[in-house]
Every structure is written in structure tokens, then in C-alpha cells.
Assembly symmetry: D2
């Protein structure tokens, strides 16, 4: 019989539940052998939906790490636990698929990278879902083949649909801010298309609170624009929002010296158009998962394949640290109003030197 | 000083007013010297809007023909007068731009062609507006250059926005039916893309009355589908409707052996998109004139240029007869439920021969 | 532990392999316990790809039916075997998911329905993949809720990308013709949107051979246009082609009395656009499976769920017969050049009566 | 007879020729009575194309101002002459339509405004063509009616097609830089949608030279990204480029608190789509005039109408100064790398105060 990867999922919140189901139902070469969550309600859900398939349910992460035969852990709980759990899993010799961001704190991110570096035989992946999306991959493939010349300008936005509740305000308490939480995806795209070794030259950001004044208490905004200049003549500029009317609207365009690629410029959730008295209408994704659901499934399958077959992961963990660094710099630039500058080695030029 | 073409417009209904204004304001090389309409209200409009620019107003067409120096006439009144007025204008030695159709009656159409043939120095044009539309011209140019191989299948629709009144029912009394009135444009496109010498092999049609039961009294329908097979392996199929929700929706696609062209497949009235809670919306043309207004202006300018400069008209009058013949055949096929067949010379194969 | 449906797949050609993998990898509640194929090469593939997961491989369909514990069979081999195998599976007490068409022969289709009717506890499904497609479902849901008023006109096309080989010619030998093979999907859509009880009033069709003259030997065409009129004032018109340049291009629009829905009008394979010196380009699906792959996965999951949970199938088997009848009528109309007519009970009106 | 506005056009370069022809041929209520250009070649063109219609040709601007009966002047020559000529025309009692920008120098702009203020009976218009574009007007109308709530974020780009010559490099010598030359349109849009009284809070910009290294000698770039923050919680961010592959690509989106509008997001030059082996392609405008030609015609007609009928101009001259100020600030921010800051009265906060 075929051997399957013995996987556990930590955290059964919104994303954790999805990861658990992906490993259970949509990752043929993996078996979901364990899950853990400190919350009894989350465990009750697991008892109903996972236990019948043989998945063991734990309340404690470290107990779960001891599950017999466990090979890999998907860390998908609250952001503040990403890094600590990833590190403990690595130390316990487990392969790790960690939800993004590793941490909102750059030092914590680096600690994960260090832990992973000490166990080079382990696969440690930070889950940047867009790297697994078919459209982004088609665009990247085109770019990598030289189809647009040298990628020079990247515009990317991650924009959530407005919610008529206080979710975004509560969420901002621990999210690290809109650029760390949302724009991190766009930053990762810049590092993908421009190259992982791109060095930041300057970072600036502005933002407003248009509909969630409560965000101010967390020094956050509901609409932010950030610009990152790289040494070598490349610029990425970003927009993040929590107030889109039509839905989740994530768009990227990459302008190269000889062509341009866009992803989701002409957004649509499916192939239907509605002809109505006031025009022709199409619907777009309502949530991040509506848009990127299939990418998460590709992610769990490729992670599994890389572990089982000893393949290289599609991208390096260090990029996850670089992305958080840039996100944190954008957030600082937003809060301080100051344009941050960096030398050609990427070192921050202190204000005094300006 | 520059000489301008001395033009008169007959009929100041919806289309006539537009033709008059096009010649007055948007055709630099023409002068609108006269108009005529038997209706006092129409003439009152002209007194206000045209007379100040020196345009003479007539109540009688034949009087207007005698206007000193008159060189050309645009026949734009009611359909039943198209052919008689065009013939009288030709006989009076005037160039003619006649609104489509020449007539709903094939013999009348042929009488116009005969009259024109006797005065070969006169320019006589039937106003198929799509032939002057920039998008159709771009498509045709591509096709003519072999860009899609041999044009083989043509799908075309002329579809009006639903009106909450009895306009379409009243109009049907004299329109010749939906295939003669609306589909005539699509038929003309088939003759353009397939070639003016294309010979019809068979004609069939079906239709329904979905929202205007009153059309039945004129043996007409508010939704019709017609298929025209040509000898030589080409097929055109048509859809006409009076009940579109979103607006005037005229679409054409031409499938060649090696490619395909579409016109207005992804309809939009302008470049605006509205992002709203239920999706992304664009608006489309509400009326035929919304969609083809600029084509009418091109038409009046090119007609003027051909007369003044002695150039060939962009297409031959005989096609207008061929189009009406096919429209009438579709209408007969619709009413009788019979598929009409024609031999390789285009002669109708009588039922008895089937 | 959770019980899974014990499924076998018959036929490991292009579609059979996909069905086998869907049940193996993408249908969590099913287990692929057996496959069969008379072809040793097909079985060799299965030995490599399926046997390691415990799937038993048979060369003989009837032997496979005796597989211990087998509950359901997916019939996915050559079209001529669909009906015979489906009937034997039903007689053996197995649930059946049969690829479309049940047969190109109407009587054979009816035999399957009869067999199924005798075992009402069995689930017998004909795999019309579009019924499981998310976009078609969104459109149908909208229509079913009255969102477009009464569906009145349906236009639908199934168009394959041109292939530079003799595949389509060879395939035509057994396919039943383009309307039975390709348009059957569009016909099924008409029966879905207009209602399963819709009664045909007339059927007409024309076609040409633009690029595959070899099709003539099978009395088939590479471009066909068909029109089906239903009693009660509804019309469906269809286009099928084997010569599309850009890819698989399947489009449907449903015009209701008060609105319109389109599916894949603005076709795109993904969300990428390429900005190049000659314009902005997007790519479309290259094959039927590119376009409908996810629908097939939904199909295997819903079939499984209906069997395991004793739910109603999403649509009735009898529609599959009605669709084949209409497809065969279109093919007859194409070959004979005659418009076929039917009375209000759906009985063919003989020529003599015309 | 109808009285027409007696108009002269100064400068017969690329834009001047167009303005001349618009007044001659497409502005029924105006008469092009005079033109001037110091270049003999330009005057030769006028002799051929304008003189036959009675237009008088001058080599000297001040001579032209004395043309008997002259009422209005369109200033359309080189940018450095915009302000001086506009001022002399105003002083001579002529209405003025001046091409944008009034000047690349803020003080010069202010001098024009001052001159105009002293002759309040004169109409003085700065030709921001997008204000006359049908799509921008539809979007603004929607916004002005509250259709998107309060406009909060504006993204706008003016991007030229790459030219394989040194045009852009030569042009940069006098253009004032990419933000003053190209982005000025986008800045004007921000002032339109956010309100003419919007006060700038900060300005930052970055840029690169991707294909025209020669621009460096003019301290200019071929790709620039700028961000303008306004007091009151509004942000505009801009992108300008000279290297687009597909064509002139000018896009704007306005995000309001309750909705979003886009203009030209889904760019297309006409309604044709080309289905080819590598996908579906549409073409976009190749030049600024391809995109905005009809807006220029609307501009000349509305300017004429406002003068003749004593109507208010659609927007105020002062906005033109504000736009140049912001453009110049962006250019300074680009060159210095410094983020410029302004207090709530719009006064620059000096570095020393930071």
C-alpha cells in the first residue's frame, strides 16, 4: 500500500479548519492524524467532523507533537503562536507548513528561520497562498521566461470587502497592522517577481480611516498606500483596504521593460454575467478564501509531495522574513509619517544621517 | 473658397433630424440647404433649429427637389416613402443617401436600383450604418486581409431594449417584420463578410412573442431566430429581439477557417465600471443611435466626399436589394414555418419540387 | 470509522482515467475498489497508478461487477458500451454514473431508463458535466428564482479547438455526429432551463465542412447550426464547431422575458492578461476538461453523496433520453436538409402530413 | 443668420493642428478665422488645409491678436509660450482656451490667473481634456450624486506607449518632468473628485529609468510613482510611464466610502476582439489623442458655447495652478528623495521644522 504523510494541524479557527479539511479530503498523499486546539468548541467541531476519519484530537500542542508517527505539522492558529509552535515543531523533528506571517515581529521570524536552518533535512514552508495560485503562477512563468523583459514596476493590492461589524477593529489588535497583515502578500509577490535578493532602498506609506475609526486605537488604518523602492531600479507600490463594496479585490500588475502582466484586473468570481435593466453585472469573490481556496489545496498537496519525495520547496523560508521586515517598515512609515531609507546593503540609514 | 455639397434632407422624424444635424454640424464639406416634411410640427422644429443657419424648409418633397443648386438628397422619412422619393430624386439628377431599407418590398427595391443604373454618374447609397462603424471596419479589414482564413460562419444579432409602451407594436404595422427591420443589418454584414455575390441555399426561421402579444396581429414576433445557408459552404445565423433588459445589444461574430472576430461581444457604452455591493457593473448603449451615432456621421461625411471627389461609394446598391430579399425570405419562413430552398443560381425551389 | 462508497470505474480511456483519479483522490467519501479495461496498456497504467492504493484491476466488465462489496459503477468507456454496461450494472444491483451520452441510439437510451426504473432504489446518473459546473449552477439558480422572468431563448455553443490531426474524423465514426456528441450538452441545458417537460415543436439544422473534409464520409460536419423550437413559445439555438482557433469555447446565454444570463461569454482560462505590442490578450481553456474539470469532481462527489445518504440525484435520467432524441433529430435534419416537425405531444409529424 | 464665435489658434504643432481642425470642422458655432505659427512649414500646412476655408494665416502671435473681429484664442503652441500668450490674449480682451499646463512654472501659472482675474468678463479655460471625456463625466456624475459615498482614495495613471526613438528624451528638456507633463492630468482628476479646495498634506515620489537612460540628463524618469496625501483623509496615488507595450494606457479608479468607480480599467480601443491561436486579444488606444480625441471636440464646443451664451465654464482656472503646484512638488520629491510636508493651510513645512 501507498504510504501517506502523517500530518497534524494546530489551530482550528477559520483557516485551521480549512487546512484540516484540505489535508483530510483533498490531499490524497497525506493523512490527517491529529489536530489540536485549546478551545473546547473547536475540539467539539473536530469530534464531529474529523474524529470519524480517525483523526486524534488534542487540546495541547506539545502533546500533539508526541503523536506516534507524526511527520509534519501545519501551524494555523492565532498569529502570535505561529513562530513559537513552528519552532517547537521543528525542534521535535517535524516538517512544518506555517500560515503567514511567521510572526508580526521580525526577530521572531528570524528565530524560525534559525531553527529551520539547524534542521536542514526538514521542510519548513511559510504559506504564501498566492505562490500556489494558478493565475499568479502563469504570470510568473511568463515573466521568468523573459516575456515582459525585466520586471520593473509592480502594483499590487489586497483589499477586503467591507464588513458591517467590528471584526477588522478587533483583529487589528494583534494583526501587526494592515501592511503586515494584508500587504504582506503583495510584498511577497514583489520579492517573487523582482527576485528574493532585492534590497530595499526606501519605504513610505500613508493611510486613512474611512469607515473604521476604531482602528485608530491600534494605530492602524482601513486604507493604506505604500511605496517600496528597491536598489537596482525597481519599485513596488501597494494598496490595502478593508472597505471594498463589491468583494475581495486582489489585483496585481507587473510592468516589465517590454511588456506587462495583470492578475485579476478584470475580476470575476465565475463565468456568469447578469444582464439587468441597469447594465451588465458580474460578481467577484467575497472573501479571501473564495478567491484563493484552490491555491490552499495546491499548497497542502505540494508541501506533502516535497516532504514525501524529498523535493525542494517552491520557495525559501527566508523570503517570509524579508516580507515581514518590509511590512513592518511600511507600518512604521505609516505611523511616523517618515520615509525610511536604506543603504545598498539594506541597512537602515538613521535619521541623523539624513 | 471651398465648395460644399448642397444637400437636402427629406423627413424630420427621429432619424431625419439626426441626418439633418449631421449634415448641418458634423459634415464640414456639406451644406444643409433644404429640408422637407409634411408635418407642421416637424417643420416648426426646423424653423427653430435649422432656418437660422440658412436651411430652407419645404412641406413638399418635389418642391424641395427644385431647390436651386441642390445636388444631393438624404431620404430619411417613413420607410414606405424611401423608394418613391429615392427614385424621384434620382430622376431629378440628385445624388441620394437613402436610409435602410430601400423598401420592405423587393420589387420596389429593384426599381430603385434600376433608376440608379440609368444615371450611372449619380452616387446612390443605402445607409447601412454598420458599414461605417469603426469596430466593424476594423473587423472587416482584418478579415479581408485573410486574418481569419475564409469566413465561414457568421452569427449576428440586432436586439432592442424593451420599451414599456406600444411603440414596437405600432411600428410593426409598416416595418416589414423583425427580420426586415432589424435583422437586415445582420444580413448586410453577412453579405459584406461573405461577399456580395453569395447565393442563398436555404432560409429558415422561428420566433416567439414573449412580451408583445400585440405583434401577432402583424404576424410579427418580438424574438426571432433565423438561419441562412449559402452555396459554397457558409452559414449565417441571426437573432433579433425587442426585449433586452440592459439595452441595445448588437453583437456579431465571424468564424473563419483560421480565426474568429467578434464585435461588441463584451458590450459597454463607455469605459466606466461601477463597483457596488452586488458586483461590478457596466452600462451598455440604450438605443441604436447610442451605439451607432458616430457611424452615421462617418456615413454623411463619406457620402459627401464620394460625391464631391467622384470617388467610388464604399459598397454597391445592389447589396441592399439582396439584403431585403433575404429579410423577406426569413419573414416568410417565420410565418409559414417552412424552410425555403434555393438552387445554385439563387432561384427559389418550389415546394412541389421538394 | 467512516464508511466509503465502494466504486469501480469501467474504461480507462481519456475520460475513464479522469473518473478513476477523481474517485481515488478527490472524492473523500468514495473508495476506488476496482477498474476494468480490455486493453492491456490501459491496465498497465492502472497497475502503476491505481494498484498501489488497493484498486483491483479487471480485464472484463462482468468479472468486475462481481467484485466483493462493490456498490457503484462509473461507466466511462467507449460510447457504444455505455448503455450495455449501464444496464448490466443496474441488473447486478449497482448504482451507476454513466458518461454521456447513454447511447447515440434512442432505443438503447430508453432501455437504460427502463432498466433503472425496475430498480428504483438504485441511483442512476447520466454525467452531464455542465449541470455540476459552478457558473452554470449560479446562472440556473438565478433563473429558477425568477431573476430573468420566463426563460424564452437559449443560445448555446460547444466548440472545440482545431486539432491538426485526424482525431475528429476518426471520432466521427462512432460519435453519432456533432449534434449528438457536442451539442448534446447544449440541448441538456435547454431542457434544464426550459424545464424537463418541454416538448419539441420543430428541429432544423445546417452545417458545413470547413477544415475536415473527411467528416463527409460519416455524413458529419465540423460546423453546425441547429434550431429547436419548443411548444409553449421557447426557442433554443445551437452552434457546434471543431475549428476554434483560440481554444475550447463553450458559451451559453439565456434570454428571459425580464433579463438575460450569460455563461462564459467573456471567456478566460484564468485571471491573467498579457499586455503586448499588439494589444491585451487573455487565454482560454484549450480542452473540454480544462474548462469543466472541477465540474467532474463535483459530479463524483455528489453522486457519492446521493448514494450514501439516500438523497435525490440532482436531475432525472429521462432527460438524458430526451437530449439524445433531440440530438438525433438535429443530426437527421442536418443530413436530410428537412425541417422536422412535431405535434403538441411530441410525436413526429410525417412528411406526408405537411 | 447665426452668429459664430471668431476663433484663432496659436501654434500648429501636433496639438495645435488638431485644435484648428476641431474649430474649423467640428465646432458648428465657431469659425476659425486665424491661425499663427512662426514655423514656415506649419504655415504651409495651413495654406493648404485652412486658407481655402477663409482662415487667415499669421507668423506672429501679436499680429494675429489684432485680427479684425477676433473674439477668442486657443493657445496650443509650445509649453513655454502657453502663459505669455495667454496673458497677452487676455490683455487684448480675448477669451482664451489654453492647452495644459499653463506653465511648468508655478509663478507663471499664477500670473495667468491674475491676468484673468482682472478681466472677469472673459472666459479663460485650461484644457484638461479628461474633464470633457464622456466616461470621466459619467464617473464624476455618479460620484457627485453620492453614488460611492465620500471619495477617499484615487488611483490614476497616465502611461504612454513606448516609442523606439528619442522623442521622450528630447521632450523632457522642456516638459517640466513626467509628473508635470503626464501626471498633471491625474492630479487634476484628484482635485475634481476630491474637490478643488483640497489641501495637500504630503507629497512623495520615486521613479526609475527603465528604457530611456537619456532622461537622467533632465533629472527625469520613464516610470514614476507618486503619492499625495490631502488633509481631511484623502489620498491620491499616481503612476506615469513612457514604456507601455500595448498602447496609451490611462486608468483611474476612485474608491469612496461606499463604492468604487473605474475608468478604462478594462481598456479597449474599440469593440473588436480577435480570437487567435494564442488567445483572445483586443487592441487599446495607441496615443493620447486616440483615447481622448472626442473629449477635445467636446472641449472646443463647450468653450464656444460658454463664450457665446455667457455660461459658466465647467471648471475654474485656479485648479490649473493647484495641479501644477502638486506636479512640481512630486517632481521635487522625486529628485530630492524627500517627502514634502505641508500644514493645514497648504504651506510647506520646512525641513528644519521636521
Amino acid at each position: 500500500m501507498v504510504r501517506t504523510l502523517q500530518v497534524a494541524v494546530s489551530g482550528l479557527g477559520r483557516m485551521g479548519v480549512r487546512h484540516a479539511l484540505h489535508f483530510l479530503e483533498k490531499t490524497p498523499r497525506a493523512s490527517l492524524v491529529a489536530v489540536c486546539d485549546p478551545d473546547p468548541q473547536a475540539r467539539a467541531w473536530a469530534t464531529t467532523h474529523l474524529a470519524p476519519y480517525g483523526t486524534k484530537i488534542y487540546s495541547d500542542f506539545d502533546e500533539m507533537l508526541k503523536h506516534p508517527g507524526l511527520e509534519a505539522v501545519c501551524v494555523a492558529g492565532i498569529t502570535t503562536e505561529h513562530a513559537p509552535q513552528a519552532i517547537r515543531a521543528i525542534e521535535a523533528g517535524k516538517h512544518v507548513l506555517c500560515e503567514k506571517p511567521l510572526s508580526v515581529d521580525v526577530e521572531m521570524c528570524e528565530a524560525v528561520v534559525k531553527a529551520a536552518a539547524e534542521k536542514p533535512h526538514l521542510k519548513v514552508l511559510c504559506g504564501f497562498s498566492r505562490r500556489f495560485d494558478a493565475s499568479y503562477r502563469a504570470a510568473f512563468e511568463r515573466s521568468a521566461k523573459g516575456g515582459i523583459g525585466r520586471p520593473t514596476i509592480l502594483r499590487s493590492q489586497t483589499c477586503d470587502k467591507f464588513r458591517n461589524d467590528d471584526y477588522f477593529v478587533r483583529y487589528a489588535e494583534h494583526s501587526g497592522g494592515i501592511f503586515v497583515d494584508a500587504t504582506i502578500h503583495d510584498i511577497d509577490l514583489a520579492l517573487w517577481f523582482f527576485g528574493a535578493n532585492s534590497i530595499v532602498k526606501s519605504v513610505s506609506a500613508v493611510g486613512v480611516n474611512a469607515r473604521y475609526p476604531g482602528l485608530a486605537q491600534h494605530a492602524d488604518v482601513d486604507n493604506g498606500v505604500g511605496v517600496v523602492e528597491f536598489w537596482g531600479g525597481q519599485v513596488a507600490y501597494f494598496y490595502a483596504s478593508r472597505i471594498m463594496a463589491a468583494g475581495q479585490h486582489d489585483v496585481t500588475e507587473v510592468i516589465g521593460t517590454h511588456g506587462k502582466l495583470t492578475v485579476n484586473q478584470n475580476a470575476a468570481n465565475d463565468l456568469v454575467e447578469y444582464h439587468e435593466p441597469n447594465g451588465i453585472r458580474r460578481e467577484i469573490a467575497q472573501t479571501y478564501y473564495d478567491r484563493f481556496g484552490p491555491a490552499f489545496v495546491t499548497e497542502s498537496n505540494e508541501f506533502t509531495e516535497c516532504v514525501l519525495d524529498g523535493k525542494e520547496l517552491p520557495f525559501d523560508l527566508s523570503g517570509a522574513v524579508a516580507a515581514v521586515k518590509i511590512g513592518a517598515a511600511l507600518q512604521e512609515a505609516l505611523r511616523s509619517g517618515v520615509k525610511l531609507e536604506f543603504d545598498e546593503t539594506g541597512e537602515r540609514i538613521s535619521k541623523a544621517n539624513l
